[in-house]
């Protein structure tokens, strides 16, 4: 059982030559990268390139066919990694438990994995929901919320864990611009408050370039380039430039 009051330490993440095939298709083809403790690492790349599969390897939902991913000094997905480090993931689909209310979803980790009393849990839940702009919605069920609101509940649910490693799969997708900014701020606050290491998979260039300490460009199952946002913007590789400078080429009808 985890203890929320435990002293948090920064964790690093390192992928070493990770390969993975799913359904006969090679999704990850020798992925290598290192995320330093406490930094925000953004993985950008085209849809279907395997970014979410990579996140699932880091959180331990999938295991590589070969290669390894280390969370600090432990293999990702191992019991030791789960026991030593608190990790949370915000799924692209939010993945809220539809049979539970919003409040129960957000407080689920505290109810199941800690000895906190119901009133303490309720207070934390209320605080986290307020942080994502959903105060007072504790008794609603996920099916009554919009996609964007569900995503914010999922973020609140992850925030409750006070994780050392925070994984986001498209955190700002389906959110309106002000709320996307709120989520960006929340990720930044998390960095300054808890020094959590964050790995974000996104298409959102604004989010990537405003928050990231390092950006990785991911395509065809491989990391093409890792650098600071400025380095990525200046990199001459046309695949990078096509992705980060993509604009509609259709002119407006007169």
């Amino acid at each position: 059982m985890n203890d929320n009051s435990r002293q948090l330490e920064n964790v690093s993440v390192e992928a070493r030559n990770v390969y993975k095939s799913l359904g006969g298709l090679e999704v990850l083809r020798g992925v290598n990268f290192k995320v330093n403790p406490g930094e925000i690492f953004v993985i950008m790349g085209p849809s279907g390139s395997g970014k979410s599969v990579l996140l699932k390897h880091i959180i331990g939902l999938l295991t590589p066919d070969s290669g390894e991913i280390l969370i600090q000094d432990e293999l990702a997905g191992s019991r030791a990694a789960r026991e030593k480090y608190r990790m949370a993931m915000v799924f692209q689909s939010a993945a809220l438990l539809t049979s539970l209310s919003v409040g129960e979803n957000v407080g689920l980790y505290l109810a199941e994995c800690t000895d906190k009393k119901p009133d303490e849990i309720a207070a934390i839940v209320s605080q986290k929901l307020e942080a994502v702009g959903l105060k007072g919605l504790e008794n609603r069920i996920p099916g009554e919320l919009s996609g964007g609101m569900q995503k914010r509940v999922a973020i609140a649910r992850a925030l409750v864990m006070e994780p050392q490693l925070f994984l986001f799969d498209e955190p700002t997708a389906e959110l309106d611009p002000p709320m996307a900014v709120t989520i960006d701020e929340e990720i930044l606050k998390l960095k300054t408050r808890t020094h959590a290491t964050s790995i974000i998979v996104t298409h959102d260039r604004t989010l990537a370039f405003s928050l990231a300490d390092h950006v990785a460009m991911f395509a065809d199952g491989q990391i093409l380039f890792v650098g600071t946002p400025d380095e990525v913007k200046r990199h001459p590789d046309p695949r990078l430039q096509d992705f980060i400078n993509a604009k509609p080429s259709i002119s407006k009808p007169a």
Partner: protein
């Protein structure tokens, strides 16, 4: 098939290992118990009444014709305790509760809710499988215990009011009392407990194995019910052999 059997055995073993966490999950177990009882009680009542009733209807006239009417109560009493109540209630529960378990867990698997639990360090076996297994293992024997007297009453009712049988309540229950022993009721309860474990583990395993979309959930539900019923009937034969051997 062998892979499935292996997975089911591993899931069962892990569920057994999680048994010490029952108290912590008591609310979820109570909720599941209420769900199982709530959806099944009326059906159990109707099924028991009519199974025993139709048995009396089919066998009563033949026994009476041969001068064996005095054994009808005992025969219905024994068959309800040892076979009809445990097997028919198990099939009913496989259809009503096993299907619901497979559908709910399957849907959670497909929509990444199970993955979300894992990322929160919540063991899906403890959170999803344990409460359902404990609840069904308690509920099915309880339903069978309720079903047995209801079935006896149904058999007595038909025996009394069917003119071809015409055995009154007192004679029916006198025959039943002289034939049925507490061990026979325990026999049925033990069988139902084993059937409950089979339904629970097969349905939960099927739910957790669901991959794909809504169509996969439908397939999982069908498989859970069919496999549970097949397993119940196979188990019934072997348990009966073992129990008969022990009773000798």
């Amino acid at each position: 098939m062998f892979q499935n059997i292996g997975e089911i055995l591993v899931l069962f073993w892990r569920t057994l290992q999680a048994l010490p966490l029952c108290w912590r999950n008591r609310k979820k177990i109570a909720y599941q118990l209420f769900e199982i009882g709530n959806v099944s009680l009326l059906m159990v009542c109707i099924l028991s009444l009519f199974i025993a009733g139709v048995t009396a209807l089919q066998t009563g006239p033949v026994l009476v014709e041969r001068g064996l009417g005095s054994v009808l109560g005992g025969m219905i009493g024994l068959s309800m305790c040892k076979e009809f109540a445990p097997v028919m209630m198990a099939i009913l529960i496989a259809g009503r509760v096993g299907s619901a378990m497979a559908a709910e867990i399957g849907s959670m698997q497909v929509y990444q809710e199970v993955d979300a639990l894992v990322t929160m360090n919540i063991n899906p076996i403890v959170y999803l499988v344990l409460p359902r297994m404990v609840a069904i293992a308690l509920a099915l024997p309880a339903l069978v215990l309720f079903s047995i007297p209801v079935g006896w009453f149904g058999g007595a009712l038909v025996s009394t009011f069917n003119r071809q049988i015409d055995i009154d309540f007192a004679a029916f229950f006198s025959s039943l009392r002289s034939t049925v022993e507490p061990g026979d009721i325990f026999n049925g309860l033990f069988k139902s407990f084993m059937f409950a474990l089979a339904i629970g583990i097969v349905s939960c395993h099927q739910g957790l194995s669901t991959r794909g979309g809504p169509r996969a959930i439908g397939r999982s539900v069908t498989k859970a019910v069919v496999n549970s019923i097949v397993l119940i009937l196979i188990l019934d034969y072997f348990l009966t052999r073992v129990l008969l051997y022990i009773q000798r």
